[in-house]
């Protein structure tokens, strides 16, 4: 049984002063960005994109988001995306921050993590300077920098900034990035689900024993580099599976990666 889907995260119920004012804006802007940046034929339910905001949002906005629906209905309306403060049209996308009046925009859930980092929606983004981009955003969005602004804008800052943190954290780690990519395709991965591959399980058991018996850091380092090789290999398989849109295969690869990741964590702990 998949525990994860049953567990409703509590942040769902969390009071936030944000939700009410920002909704108004989000609804207007979401349709626009949607059409300007997405090429994919059938976008997945947007509320699933971001763990934090989906949890917050789903309760107030209804599950699975307004986007799937509102996009269709509003498609013809062609609402224009403008700054809430000075009404300028954004110079560039994604529109998190207005360059003309330097005000922070409300969170637009249709902007995904890859959009935030100006990256293509793909697995292999190692060459991207994520940290640099992350810092660039924080310098514009971080709540510490907007003390003198209105309560509303400080809330936008808090939400945008923490969303950029989530995005950075997710894209930086291959495993989280992989899970997120599948989520964008509407495929939920349950990391906790056990793999019913006796060979893998036996192998993991063996490695675990080796880790436990390992004497000295040399032996542990050897195991570590073996694990990293395996992970690299799996990582490539995921990329291939994802590119050929074999999502089921991609999903099992992720579950396998989880096992190796955990062993690596254990080794690092012991080192």
């Amino acid at each position: 049984m998949s525990k994860k889907k049953l567990c409703t995260p509590l942040s769902t119920f969390m009071r936030t002063s944000l939700t009410s004012p920002s909704d108004r804006f989000t609804k207007i802007s979401s349709s626009q960005i949607k059409f300007s940046t997405f090429a994919s034929p059938s976008p997945p339910p947007l509320a699933l994109y971001n763990p934090t905001f989906h949890k917050l949002g789903q309760y107030f906005l209804g599950d699975l988001g307004f986007c799937g629906k509102s996009i269709c209905s509003k498609a013809a309306e062609k609402l224009e995306l403008r700054c809430w403060n000075c009404h300028s049209v954004p110079e560039s996308l994604p529109f998190l921050f207005c360059e003309s009046c330097r005000s922070i925009q409300p969170v637009d859930k249709s902007v995904n993590y890859f959009d935030i980092f100006g990256s293509e929606k793909k697995y292999d983004i190692e060459d991207k300077n994520l940290e640099g981009k992350y810092k660039e955003w924080q310098k514009k969005l971080h709540p510490d920098l907007v003390h003198s602004k209105s309560k509303m804008e400080r809330d936008f800052a808090a939400e945008q900034s923490s969303r950029v943190i989530d995005a950075y954290r997710t894209l930086k780690k291959p495993l989280l990035r992989a899970i997120y990519l599948l989520k964008l395709e509407g495929v939920e991965v349950d990391e906790e689900q056990t793999v019913s591959d006796p060979e893998l399980l036996a192998e993991i058991m063996e490695i675990r024993e080796a880790v436990e018996e390992a004497d000295g850091s040399e032996a542990l380092k050897r195991i570590l580099s073996q694990m990293q090789d395996k992970l690299k290999h799996l990582s490539d398989s995921f990329d291939n599976a994802f590119q050929s849109r074999s999502f089921e295969e991609a999903k099992t690869t992720i579950q396998r990666m989880t096992y190796y990741e955990r062993v690596i964590e254990e080794v690092v702990k012991k080192l």
Partner: protein, 572 residues
């Protein structure tokens, strides 16, 4: 509690000031209250300036002397010699005592100070008293700190010729959230508003970020990312941070800290020179206090000298027929304090690991604080970093307060035409925050070194069939067992629907907002339902009033394991 009445500025006053601040912002001052020394600095419009007291000192001793009815602190006081500070009427080391309970080993280590630290060992706040007219008069660390801050504020106001309300204070990494509330309380008592409490090494990281920004401007470079390790060891605490800075933005990658410092080196050395010192001085009689003071001063001098010399002659007459006449070598000093130095080493290594940074990736190694002059400390750092040249360009004693002053300016919304305040530090949580579950285990919900703001959920479940209530006991720290951590608060979830054990999902969500405020939310969801089964509880932490260690004990006695929870099983 018998604390003196204090006034907290009313809300209307605050808003009034905020309004005026938009046109002419008040620059917050940076304050570094060390265990032994204190300093104040402010952004003067173009750079950081350290404030001096009337005796032209930038570094002032952190203490308060109680005499008759007028206490006076180290900012203004004219103690001519260390001995006067050690007469029993002066309280110092308050940074080591604040917000701790009487079962804390750090409090126990303070029992051989000249003033009175009494413990009942039941997990309540220790009894602290100063000798006034031959009477032990009780006080609290908060009160002592507040008196000190009042003096400090007056000094700053006289220097800057304007009222001071806002401060940025540096704090040790290992301070619990409960201890932070005690610091805030002392500030409120002194009429100060805390704009930010900055872990010391992160203040230094900010200063480093500013320096990097300035050099990259000078070189017209794009300013590539630089990683620095900061090791800061003062009299009371040792802290480490790994920071990655680029374009004025510093991301704190990891923090580590511990209550070890010059005070421990000193006490270990005193014990070495006079093994029976603790029992000799326990009675705190007039003669004993005198001897203790003499020994303390002599040991302090010896340690100071050992930084430049390889051996030192200790020659002191403690009275009562006690004489110490001994040559102490630097190697002896290092041997006596082996454990302290080992801890320093492991803190640095742990911090590097947490930051996932290899020794080779570190661009700059910064060591600051009063203990940075000790050769052994330099050697430890040097050997971890394979002989790498240490970063120069930071005054080891002023770095933290300078960083705090820069933050004071940034947080007050001051801008600088040269971009010198175009800075941001993205903080991380120094300690894990979690709850008691799986017996007496501490289960972190927000792990340490999580970027702030942060929000995390974890799911727990009941351990008994038809368990209708569950206790959420929130702790902060690094220990696997709850009793090794700091208690932040507790509350009960009620109205769990009757169900077999393991079925109800008890959701615990922790949220730290940009202002570093922690909220804990808890609610129950039954499988298959999308609605919580009861009203979600939201509790702002910490709720504990006085760090009462016995609260947890009492809860355990009252409820046993009847209201316990377990984590929802992860796969092996």
């Amino acid at each position: 509690m018998a604390e003196p009445a204090y006034t907290v500025a009313s809300d209307s006053e605050t808003t009034g000031e905020e309004k005026s601040s938009s046109t002419f912002p008040e620059i917050a001052i940076g304050v570094d209250i060390g265990t032994s020394q204190c300093s104040v600095a402010v952004w003067n419009g173009s750079q950081v300036e350290l404030l001096k007291n009337t005796r032209n000192q930038k570094m002032m001793k952190s203490y308060v002397t109680f005499k008759d009815d007028i206490p006076s602190g180290g900012i203004s006081s004219l103690l001519s010699h260390d001995h006067e500070m050690l007469s029993g009427s002066t309280i110092f080391n308050m940074k080591r005592l604040i917000g701790r309970v009487d079962t804390d080993p750090v409090v126990h280590a303070s029992k051989n100070l000249p003033f009175l630290v009494q413990t009942l060992d039941i997990g309540v706040r220790p009894f602290i008293a100063a000798l006034v007219n031959n009477v032990w008069r009780s006080t609290t660390p908060e009160e002592v700190l507040a008196i000190f801050l009042v003096e400090l504020r007056a000094m700053a106001e006289a220097q800057l010729k304007r009222p001071i309300r806002n401060v940025v204070l540096t704090i040790p990494v290992s301070f619990s959230r409960f201890q932070l509330t005690r610091i805030e309380r002392a500030c409120a008592m002194a009429g100060l508003r805390v704009l930010r409490l900055m872990p010391e090494p992160t203040a230094i990281a900010l200063l480093y970020g500013q320096q990097q920004q300035q050099t990259s401007h000078e070189n017209m470079g794009s300013g590539s990312e630089k990683i620095a390790l900061i090791f800061n060891m003062g009299a009371g605490y040792a802290d480490v941070a790994v920071t990655a800075t680029a374009g004025g933005v510093s991301q704190i990658k990891a923090l580590a800290g511990n209550t070890i410092g010059g005070e421990d080196l000193l006490q270990n050395m005193m014990r070495y020179l006079l093994p029976e010192s603790e029992s000799l001085f326990e009675s705190h009689g007039v003669k004993e206090i005198e001897s203790m003071a003499l020994l303390r001063v002599a040991t302090q001098d010896a340690i100071r000298k050992l930084s430049s010399e390889t051996s030192v002659q200790v020659d002191v007459d403690l009275g009562n027929g006690l004489k110490i006449c001994k040559v102490v070598g630097r190697n002896e000093f290092e041997q006596v304090n082996r454990k302290v130095f080992e801890k320093c080493e492991s803190l640095i290594i742990q911090c590097l690991q947490d930051a996932k940074v290899e020794v080779e990736d570190v661009n700059d190694v910064i060591i600051v604080g009063g203990c940075s002059f000790i050769p052994k400390v330099k050697n430890i750092v040097s050997s971890i970093f394979k002989g790498k040249q240490l970063y120069e360009g930071m005054n080891p004693l002023e770095a933290a307060v300078r960083g705090a002053a820069v933050e004071g300016a940034v947080a007050s919304g001051i801008s600088d035409p040269f971009g010198n305040l175009d800075l941001l530090t993205i903080q991380a949580t120094p300690l894990a925050i979690g709850i008691q579950a799986d017996g007496k285990s501490f289960v972190p919900v927000i792990p340490r070194n999580t970027t702030i703001p942060a929000r995390k959920d974890l799911v727990f479940t009941t351990i008994h069939d038809n368990q209708r209530e569950a206790l959420i006991i929130v702790y902060e720290g690094e220990g696997d067992k709850v009793e090794e951590n700091h208690l932040l608060g507790y509350f009960k979830i009620m109205g769990i629907p009757a169900a077999p054990k393991g079925v109800p999902e008890i959701n615990v969500c922790m949220d730290i907002d940009a202002g570093n405020v922690l909220r804990v939310l808890a609610g129950v969801v039954m499988p298959g339902s999308r609605q919580p089964a009861n009203r979600v509880m939201e509790v702002r932490m910490p709720t504990v009033d006085d760090g009462h260690g016995w609260c947890a004990e009492a809860l355990h006695r009252a409820y046993g394991s009847t209201l316990d929870m377990v984590t929802v099983q992860k796969k092996a």
